[in-house]
Symmetry: C2
Subunit: 136 residues, 2 copies
DNA sequence: ACACATAATCGTAATGATTCCTATTTACAA
DNA sequence: TTGTAAATAGGAATCATTACGATTATGTGT
């Protein structure tokens, strides 16, 4: 998702544009992978002295609801990244740096749908974990 | 994993058998799906008045290390279930009750391995979420 | 440009899950 | 049966996250 799209989404949905919100978008736009609330907080705190965790979490949730960010649970901690919603795919996630690589394979084909006949399917997750070339 | 195998594993590794440990094994043996530390704690507390969370977590971790239990993060909370290590497979997980159904499909074939050439692959997760027939 | 209503933020307290610590108890090997 | 190391209870501490009242800032209407 591009920066401009994100800004438009905010405006369309009647949310105000603040410098903190802008900066959060900048952060995830620069970063390539999954980042924690704490990592974002520390980045923000280096720019806006005295920023509140409330602001960080409130906006993470907002962006997640708007589909600007996507999230996943790693080691019992929520991680967020810019939503790459151009087409359906999954990720390799580096356990070291959190950076990701697209995997253009999805196991949710008719095979799986058939195996789960009377089951209501809401969502699925396919993630591969390890170390990226840079972190080995 | 059977109850007997679990007991043997404990003994082989030099751990003592206590009534609490036995009861935790009973619990997961009876249960079909993923359960939280809190659910286990409440079950244990109904039998052993005054049981400590420390005991619950210590043994959950121990069983996880020994491969008796497997775990996954759901809604930012760790969930555990008896390890079904007979053959590699994945799970449908009911968001309501935590019960599971095997999925005998795995996307980690050579295709994915090829896509991740210089990447060190340690682990992967494929989970489908929704509601089981009983919970709809 | 100005004022106003409301949304956003701050600072901090509260919560929930999990971990840590010390004194006491227990399993089990000798 | 006894000794010793492991296991447990009880409670404090920690970490991530949420909640909340008071203050500040944005965007709309003038």
């Amino acid at each position: 998702m591009s920066l401009q799209e994100s800004l438009d989404l905010l405006k369309e949905n009647g949310y105000k544009m603040t410098d903190r919100r802008q900066e959060i978008l900048n952060y995830f736009h620069k970063e390539d992978g999954y980042r924690t609330a704490k990592e974002l907080y520390e980045y923000m705190a280096s720019i806006y002295e005295g920023i509140s965790y409330d602001t960080v979490y409130r906006n993470l949730h907002l962006y997640h609801e708007l589909g600007i960010l996507e999230s996943t649970d790693l080691n019992s901690e929520k991680h967020f990244r810019m939503n790459c919603s151009d087409h359906h795919h999954h990720h390799f996630i580096c356990k070291e740096c959190g950076n990701t690589k697209k995997i253009n394979v999805c196991p949710m084909d008719d095979v799986v749908a058939h195996l789960l006949n009377n089951y209501q399917i809401d969502d699925h997750k396919f993630e591969v974990y390890g170390r990226c070339p840079d972190c080995q």
